[in-house]
């Protein structure tokens, strides 16, 4: 496979982009972008969040119209005015956030997007054949709701392949996969390349870009800052190109005396019945997070992390008040507001629509989670909101977290994902909570912002708080945690001290190996 790399450069360009520009108001999201994708190459598009990757891809897929610039397909100028036009040309896209109906089968979901009236049966047969030939086994008759995230991504990929595209755009495809699943995906991509198909691979994971991509185009602040061969670069040099400066490594000071520190967050035999047919039941979860430590919870998405977070945060109450204890007091029967008043703070996985109201200003989104805990500071007599105090507190957080924005107090939806996440995490850090529970702290966040958030979480713990981080990103957990537990199918393993944890051990637990292994090794220690 590697031998074809040098040949790629001689081949004709499948897609050529010249001077593509997109302007939103005063912001130039894409500024004269040049990009060539040869036939049969895997081309990486690298860049921090807000660098213009999504905007560029949306223009290539026809969901956004460029202000200026040209696109050539097979040497001929084209105007991609809609996703329909893009598909007709032969451009397929696999989105980062899946667009599947959980209550329908895989085949039905595929039929919906093909929209050509062919019977479900023949689509299912085609999908099955295609999936096996690419080593992505998929049962087209299974309900999407019953499938793991990795399997759902397969549906998206099969759906895209059924339209026989020449260029496949993949947006952060491995962010939801286990290391083993990711390997499988890379094999498929290499197979597609060997068939002469081109792939535009968007990622911020530099190791995998180095591993599978032939060429890379790096964006920064809407401009192309370089084209390179990722195999000849180091992860550090790629990161430097993306960020424009050195990314500070996260420093984790050794935690001392944790064994004797008070347990600030205790989960005791927490169980929860599934609330919907597609929810994961929680089974007898036990966990203690002490003052000064960061505990990580690893696991493939959809193994009960969301349900667990809701139960701990108090968005869902527990029958047994003692199953969640905050600072030594029962909290299971208290609402999220009650738990916040006990000193806990929460950051959910979804930024828009859960952690923040998209159409509300940042200052209003500050009030969202702190109207009760900071009631005296933010709400005056008679329930009147002190807008001035809220505004200045929001500005304080914006400064502390280096949130970049286009207006003094913009709507949450106007911020890039990374910047909004910095604000949402900063909103809780600003309270100096004694218990902090974070779900996916740096999902889709660029390297610079992610390092900032991780460092802040470690510092919060070292200053005497208990920090619980739920994440699918193993690199992140190894960087942050003093111990890592794994959630699989609604069960939580015993936390493995970071000194004993390896990718392999955690990966096995994520895949559903007996939690007993981990328990055993802990007892030995």
């Amino acid at each position: 496979m590697g031998g074809t790399v040098s040949a790629n450069h001689d081949r004709a360009n499948l897609l050529e982009v010249r001077g593509l520009t997109k302007i939103f108001g005063t912001l130039t999201a894409c500024d004269h972008i040049d990009l060539n994708i040869a036939k049969g190459e895997i081309h990486a598009l690298l860049g921090e969040n807000g660098a213009g990757k999504s905007t560029l891809v949306k223009m290539l897929f026809g969901s956004l119209e460029p202000n200026s610039g040209e696109i050539f397909w097979d040497g001929k100028p084209v105007k991609i005015t809609s996703p329909g036009v893009a598909k007709k040309l032969g451009i397929g896209m696999v989105f980062q956030h899946f667009s599947l109906f959980e209550a329908l089968t895989a085949a039905e979901n595929i039929a919906l997007s093909l929209n050509d009236g062919s019977p479900i049966g023949s689509i299912a047969a085609k999908a099955r054949a295609l999936s096996y030939s690419y080593g992505l086994p998929l049962d087209p008759d299974s309900l999407v709701g019953d499938l793991s995230v990795g399997e759902r991504q397969r549906i998206e990929i099969i759906r895209c392949l059924l339209q026989t595209p020449q260029l496949i755009i993949l947006d952060e495809p491995t962010s939801v996969l286990t290391p083993q699943e990711a390997d499988k995906l890379f094999e498929t991509l290499e197979r597609l390349r060997s068939e002469g198909k081109s792939i535009l691979y968007i990622s911020h994971r530099l190791e995998e870009v180095k591993r599978i991509c032939d060429r890379a185009t790096v964006l920064r602040h809407g401009k192309v800052v370089g084209h390179c061969n990722p195999r000849q670069e180091t992860a550090a040099s790629l990161a430097r190109m993306m960020v424009g400066s050195e990314v500070k490594a996260v420093v984790r000071a050794p935690a001392e005396g944790i064994e004797t520190a008070p347990a600030l967050l205790q989960i005791r035999s927490l169980s929860r019945k599934p609330a919907t047919p597609f929810a994961i039941p929680l089974k007898n979860i036990n966990l203690t997070v002490r003052a000064g430590e960061v505990i990580g919870i690893a696991g493939v998405a959809g193994n009960g992390q969301g349900e667990f977070f809701e139960s701990v945060s108090g968005e869902v109450l527990q029958q047994d008040a003692g199953s969640v204890r905050i600072r030594g007091k029962d909290a299971g029967g208290l609402s999220i507001t009650g738990r916040r008043l006990m000193g806990a703070a929460f950051v959910p996985e979804e930024r828009l629509g859960h952690g923040a109201a998209p159409r509300m200003k940042l200052s209003e989104n500050l009030l969202l989670s702190r109207h009760a805990t900071d009631g005296k500071a933010f709400v005056g007599s008679g329930g009147m909101v002190k807008n001035g105090a809220v505004y200045s507190a929001a500005q304080r957080i914006i400064t502390a977290m280096d949130v970049r924005k286009s207006a003094p107090d913009p709507e949450a939806a106007a911020l890039s994902g990374g910047n909004l996440q910095k604000f949402i995490v900063g909103r809780e850090l600003d309270r100096k909570p004694s218990v902090m529970v974070v779900n996916q702290p740096t999902w889709g966040v660029d390297a610079g912002a992610a390092a900032h958030i991780r460092q802040a979480l470690i510092e919060l713990a070292r200053s005497g708080s208990a920090v619980l981080v739920i994440s699918q990103d193993l690199d992140e957990l190894f960087e942050l945690s003093d111990a890592i537990a794994v959630m699989h199918n609604g069960e939580l393993s015993v936390p493995l001290p970071i000194a004993e944890a390896t990718f392999e051990k955690i990966g096995l637990l994520m895949g559903g190996a007996e939690p007993g292994h981990a328990e055993h090794s802990l007892e030995v220690a």
Partner: protein, 375 residues
Amino acid sequence: MRIELVKRPQRSALFSMLSPFIAFALTIIAGAIMFALLGVNPLNAFEIYFVEPISQVWQLHELAIKAAPLILIAVGLSVCYKANIWNIGAEGQFIFGAIFGSIIPVLFPQFEGPLVIPLMLLLGMVGGAFYASIPALLKTRFSTNEILTSLMLVYVAQLFLDWLVRGPWRDPQGHGFPQTIQFGDSAVLPELMPDAGRANWGFVFALVAAVLVWLMMSRMLKGFEVRVLGSSPRAGRFAGFGFNRMVFFTFLLSGALAGLAGISEVSGAIGQLQPVISPGYGFTAIIVAFLGRLNPLGIVAAGLVLALTYLGGEAVQSALGISDKVARVFQGMLLFFVLGCDTLIHYRIRLIGIALTKPNGAAQLEAAPKLEEAR
């Protein structure tokens, strides 16, 4: 050929502001065509419809009488709609407010004095809130659709009132007419300026309610709660705001205001209960709420405009012999154009030929599951 609505990346602030005015202009144009088709000179008709009804002071008082219930109801509804809760049954809550408030003057006509009016108003609000609590309870307990239940309860209320005034509450000295006794003097809502016109305190209530609700929605934590839960329910839950509590809050508030409008109308403008006490105020108020962009202060202006359509309807009926249903037509067109303009601010229209078999499929699919989640 297919028509699709495609979300605009940005909303135009200018057109958001102009939207009600554009809608009004389009209504006038469509109205002119309608008058022309009816064989009437449109200019002449417009003068009779929109200008003559407000050319004298006493007519302005009539305008205030018509506008008061519209504003009161619409202000309450605007809170519901901001919270994404769809109370369509204000007409029924209006009627129940009127019935509850009329308990004192009908059943205890001998009870007189300055306390009568405040008690009647209070009972009216209780009646409206009580009636609104039914769809709220059904929604929170059984997840019923409040649009259907609140709407259907309107017809129950109308028939209940009809039965009351023909049956138990009928005026024994009324020669069999289906109506209650005339309210006593102390049960009649006083007029503001008796020398100038008939406008009563109901209009003042409407203005006060508009200002208070505006204050709540824009400055208070409660209003923030309404807006958060309405725009993103999951974020609202994360904020610790209870959705069920919000359903009750908005229904009780809008029900109470509709009930207040109902008793004010009966006690001020009519003076007794009869089978029909509202020319559809509860429904027209929905138009008022949207024409006022769900902003209580905008609603005051919109209420005056819609009140004029009622007066204009009566005027063209007497002057030109055109059915006063013309008022309904104007109201309908206005709502149609307001919603149309609002939609086009957020979306643009795209025509799609048949040749493309899979247009925008991914984009649709992307949007659809989100909708499903939102349910």
